[in-house]
Symmetry: C3
Subunit: 376 residues, 3 copies
């Protein structure tokens, strides 16, 4: 038997702050084929009833070759791939922006994800720093299906480690620039001209009897608020099944023994799944929101746990016509997730404490996103 | 920003008693494609082991083009479509009858459901009424796959509302008849001559080694009772996953916060899923019950909740030969679901209280249905 | 109505010890088609991230016609078929050996299982005995996909029953031999020369960026121990969903009312699912373990229940080159499952009690198995 004293640890510990460098490209494992099984399970986990993902006949009547995979299901899988490399050592997931839904994903497609470091900023405490990445997911035909920007606060492994560099350590860089900080300029929302509307889509004959909702883009009013009536109680089993389905292996969702040693005291629900639940709950009143075009910004305001009951309301932030299209248009929406009290029992997302505004403790999600909807 | 004072509520509140009228046809949203993912999940949720839905090879040897989707899985999905329009404002789901299984459903089929109002009867309290509908589910080829009658007690929205009319309000009807009540005459069971046996089916070479049960139609005796030994404990997660899979969005199954304010104190299990569990549990002793031909009647005698353990027994009510078929015949069965005590610990479904018969509090299902079984 | 006094019980009570005889062949019900739905659900239930089962593109680049079904998912389904005939009356599941993974299983394949009795040994108490069976699972093309040996201790139904015979009771056997015991000689591990490596497989261009693990066969050292960091908390719902998916109907996993009357006090987790969880958890550090070639031996050292958190470590037992292959080789591994404490908190599997070695009460699995891994 060989000596095992000097065996290299086989465990990939992920990237610490000092391991990142500007313009670094990280290819994430493991590509994932998404099939009809994932689609069915997503319906069981969320109660989603969006017509495009439910009915092959309706999807095909709109020009899709088949039912596309639910936008958020495919996105969560693509996103989950980044966890072991980007956020496994994160102190906090701080935000995301400029999430673009570029191509439909169909059953049988295989999605792979890579990320490029676009910003770095060491915290003043010297113990951690902010890492900004732009991630892109491509399918087996090398078509981009999603792109998004995300920023996380990541621990340093060695507290005295130097600031990450702007080039790969192994690269000979004649003039190495060590910036104090590089913070990317981010869009506050994806402009209508950059939204990706499938060219094959034709909703001119859209039949609302297939969705049960009679309101189309023209009926919605900027400033309008829709209190979706349904609530959904989610168990630890529900959210861990979902997060395993997404192959997101962040340990704080799964390991109750470890989490009992934290201030949370128990497993945290994956924030992405909250988005999915709210999207499903918001079906009543937004039945004709065909697909998601963009997520402009999102905040997970408070943690969510097993046995919480999720409710949601939607506010119409903006309405945009789309160039050269009379059949569909875009709605920019604010989707607010609430736990353990119905949507109509909260007047707004914030409360005032000594004149300081903060999120109500039961507000768990504040998401700014854009959907596609048929017109009259 | 537009004024939002006069914005129309986008929430579909469903039909109240006075919104129904005789011969009204309601097209339910959303059509649903049922695939292999749903089939796999159904097995995981129920433990079903029926050979026709488990084994492609056996299904094809019997003449099916592929494994058909489990009868009850497809039925629950078709049924779930009616909830937002028919029973969302129901006081109670009172019954169903004449449920016919007309065509096999295969993975990839898309099922849509519509209902016709066939009866209306206002309650003497003036606050609610009975609504009878005949629903039909069709596949993407416009073939009827299920039809059934159901009656529910529905709230009135406005207590002084007039009795529903016999024609659509917007229709000019020269002689409008406002009946005190129209109660449809219902079959107590689907007669054997009207059962739909697939013409392609050939069970003359049926091999019982594929099912593990050696008893065929000829072996069953009218009056016989089979106590199925297995019990299955079901959690709130199990039954809500199932009910979301069926896209049945009745809130009392999902919203624990709301249900805590009711006499039940917690989420109710969807009665249809109990039927599925009992059908799966009844496999031991009915291994060769190939498919369901009809549900003649059903009563959900007592509520069922998460953490209940379900058992079942079966009584043979009748045996019917089928015209021109020597390979298969029909068994009319009574399937009784019991909670929290084994089937063999109950002599019957009813108990006597001061001479009054009522269901034993642990009897949760009393279902009269008809199955197809190979003959010797 | 017929008299039902003399109706034959339709319940299959399974085999008691005296019902088995040497060389008996038992065809198990029900064949099962395994599809993409099962594959997706398995990922959700285990968090598995093995590349071969996740990514169609990678599987095809290695020569597979499609993503194969996860080895353990298919094995559990094949194994589950034996339960009603072999172990339903078992006192204990004592062990298994010589488990061979002979062919990949693809979505759409239908698997059937049969068993041959290869050993019998009555216990000295006369109340039960050991039954050894070799089981084989075949696909719809009659190709063997798995074979394994298993031994269980089975109750006698009639305590005075004679020792099982060496031939079928109904067979005329001129010289009937009633052996005191026939105990088969079992391999302690499947030798490398008998491992089945797919001939189509070509891993010479294997790209580790698809798995996230940079270590290949050459990097592992005999004696090395890998403490996999992740833990996974499993609920009763999780493990019963999995076991129902496998169509394993052993009642002690499902019936909480019955189990409350036992010393366990609650439902037991199916041991096979523990193997699956540990295999999924061991991904970090064994990312390039492509597939399972054999399970050499396994012990379920302690019971596992809902709400336990599972961790795992791996020890490298042996390394084998494979004849005529430079692209892949075999690793013989010991996978140890631990509950409710992280893998790195236990120095070994055993503790000493008054000089007697026994498994640590939190060690739940001790599995000896062999995997295929690409070489440098």
């Amino acid at each position: 038997m060989s000596s095992t004293n000097n065996v290299i640890s086989k465990i990939n510990v992920g990237h610490y702050f000092e391991d990142f460098y500007l313009n670094q490209v990280i290819q994430h494992a493991t590509p994932r084929t998404i099939g009809e099984g994932e689609a069915a399970l997503y319906i069981a986990l969320t109660g989603a009833r969006q017509v495009l993902h439910s009915a092959e006949t309706v999807a095909q009547s709109l020009g899709y070759k088949a039912r596309p995979i639910d936008d958020l299901l495919a996105f969560h899988i693509a996103f989950g791939k980044t966890v072991p490399d980007i956020s496994v050592n994160a102190v906090a997931n701080l935000g995301y922006a400029d999430v673009r839904f570029l191509q439909p994903v169909y059953a049988g497609d295989t999605i792979g994800t890579s990320s490029t470091v676009i910003g770095l900023k060491q915290n003043s405490n010297g113990k951690s720093g902010m890492v900004y990445v732009r991630s892109i997911a491509i399918n087996q035909d090398q078509q981009a299906v999603f792109s998004w920007v995300r920023w996380v606060m990541v621990h340093k492994k060695v507290l005295t480690a130097a600031m990450p560099e702007t080039a790969a350590p192994e690269t000979v860089v004649p003039e190495k620039v060590v910036p104090e900080k590089v913070v990317p300029k981010l869009l506050s929302f994806v402009p209508v001209a950059e939204l990706n509307i499938p060219s094959f889509l034709d909703a001119s004959q859209f039949d609302t009897s297939n969705t049960g909702g009679s309101y189309l883009w023209d009926d919605y009013v900027v400033g309008e608020r829709i209190n979706h009536p349904a609530g959904m109680t989610i168990s630890d089993t529900d959210h861990t099944l979902a997060t395993k389905l997404y192959q997101n292996n962040a340990r704080l969702h799964f390991d109750d023994v470890m989490m009992k040693t934290t201030a949370f005291g128990r497993r945290l629900m994956y924030g992405g799944h909250i988005i999915s639940l709210c999207r499903a709950l918001s079906h009543d009143g937004l039945e004709n929101a065909l697909s998601i075009l963009a997520i402009n910004a999102g905040t997970h305001c408070n943690p969510t746990f097993g046995d919480d009951t999720i409710y949601t309301w939607t506010e119409v932030l903006d309405k945009w016509e789309i160039a050269n299209r009379s059949d569909v248009a875009a709605l920019r929406l604010r989707m607010v997730g609430v736990k353990n009290q119905a949507a109509d029992t909260l007047a707004g997302t914030h409360i005032s404490n000594d004149g300081k505004q903060s999120y109500h403790p039961n507000v768990v999600l504040d998401l700014d996103y854009t959907v596609l909807m048929p017109r009259k």
